[in-house]
Subunit: 247 residues, 2 copies
């Protein structure tokens, strides 16, 4: 189907190969970005090994050899570490996706590729990814994945889905609607991934395949001019709810 890029093929990957500590005891810590990166890398490594809640910020700071307060100088909270990491994941996913999209013709394959490569990147991250959902019910929290502060991240993710849809012949309303719907599906898949205890995430992968198939099938149906009033109703509803912008 789509060409899986193996981990080693992602040049300069920030995510999959967190850099080892770049200095030894007694050596002076480098620049601002270096310290911040060190802390982030150490945190992600420890979160992966032990779990998010099971790792303390004291351990993270100690791992880098800095004072606890320094972690808070660079990151406003423990969860913000995970969010910073997820932003990296997003960046890496964009790179991978844009490498694969030119070689993937069928929409079904394109969408499946997007979801599966995301899962590939995140496959070792179940012990920390859940922390991203912590503020789901807190509308004003800066880290709420549905809140206004994360709107750029959402938009970025949706733009990837929009890119995958680009070659398709779609009515304008569907072209506008689908990135949101696929983003929502993608969030559902990530959630499912967290709950999936099957070997090698088999069930999650099958869910991806199956749901992408249904989306593409639904799309074939929904394109019909006969269903234009229905599409219009959906668009109206979502606009009223401010889930998509007013045109």
């Amino acid at each position: 189907m789509f060409k899986l890029l193996s981990r080693t093929n992602v040049a300069g990957s920030e995510v999959s190969h967190p850099q080892p500590l770049a200095f030894q005891a007694g050596e002076k810590i480098g620049s601002r970005e270096t310290t911040r990166e060190l802390i982030l890398n150490a945190a992600i490594r420890l979160f992966r090994e032990r779990g998010f809640d099971e790792t303390t910020m004291r351990e993270v700071a100690s791992e880098v050899g800095v004072a606890l307060g320094l972690a808070y100088y660079y990151f406003p909270s423990k969860e913000a570490l995970v969010m910073a990491y997820y932003e990296r994941v997003q960046r890496e996913h964009r790179i991978v996706a844009q490498q694969n999209l030119p070689h993937t013709r069928a929409l079904r394959d394109r969408l499946a590729m997007l979801l599966n490569t995301k899962l590939d990147i995140l496959k070792d991250d179940r012990k920390l990814l859940g922390a991203l959902f912590r503020y789901t019910g807190s509308p004003d929290h800066p880290l709420s994945f549905l809140g206004k502060n994360t709107a750029p991240l959402r938009a970025d993710c949706m733009s990837l889905f929009a890119e995958a849809l680009e070659p398709e012949r779609l009515p304008d309303d569907l072209r506008e609607l689908l990135p949101l719907l696929i983003w929502a599906l993608h969030m559902g898949v990530l959630l499912y991934f967290l709950y999936d205890a099957s070997p090698n995430l088999r069930r999650t992968r099958r869910l991806v395949d199956g749901s992408v198939g249904l989306v593409v099938g639904f799309l074939g149906l929904a394109k019909s001019p006969l269903l234009r009033p229905v599409r219009r109703s959906v668009m109206t509803l979502l606009r009223d709810a401010r889930l998509i912008p007013r045109s």
Copy 2:
């Protein structure tokens, strides 16, 4: 449309009128249920007034006049207070729903009534309801609303939706599928409610109306024997994903 029961009409309501402190300073605290209820009621009241995070467990205990540790004797965590409250909400909702269902014929009205009465009950609870979503990303946590410990609560909620669907002529597969789908919609509505800043939750109410309309419309379409293979695909997918039981 449906008959709205006003708050005062719900006899013996546990939710809407948290009982005042049943004793005065120096008076001996009553039985186990009384103390537990006192703590829960005080907590919910304070959470409503101040917000969940803004209220400390020390304040809750102090409000009842007991030691901090006693709150933890009765409730395993701060969030567990909110979950206990939500279980009450569920019970009250069932009562209200079962009073209204016999007088509501059209499916659209039945579904809208279920969602709207839920919102009625929860309307003052935005400051605390978000806490229920805190463990969304923690599959093994007892309070995860998607986890196994909350399966009875989910099933109970879905059974209400199944009841609303009862009079409808539906193919078996749809009859099995729809409670889950409507439950998911209901969760989406609750989430939306948390984020909705419109006056009197206007936008949430409109979302309810609109989405119920779409569900009913979709249902009309989905019933068609022509779409049986699609329904079968959906059922297969959800069964494989273990989101509905295998038949």
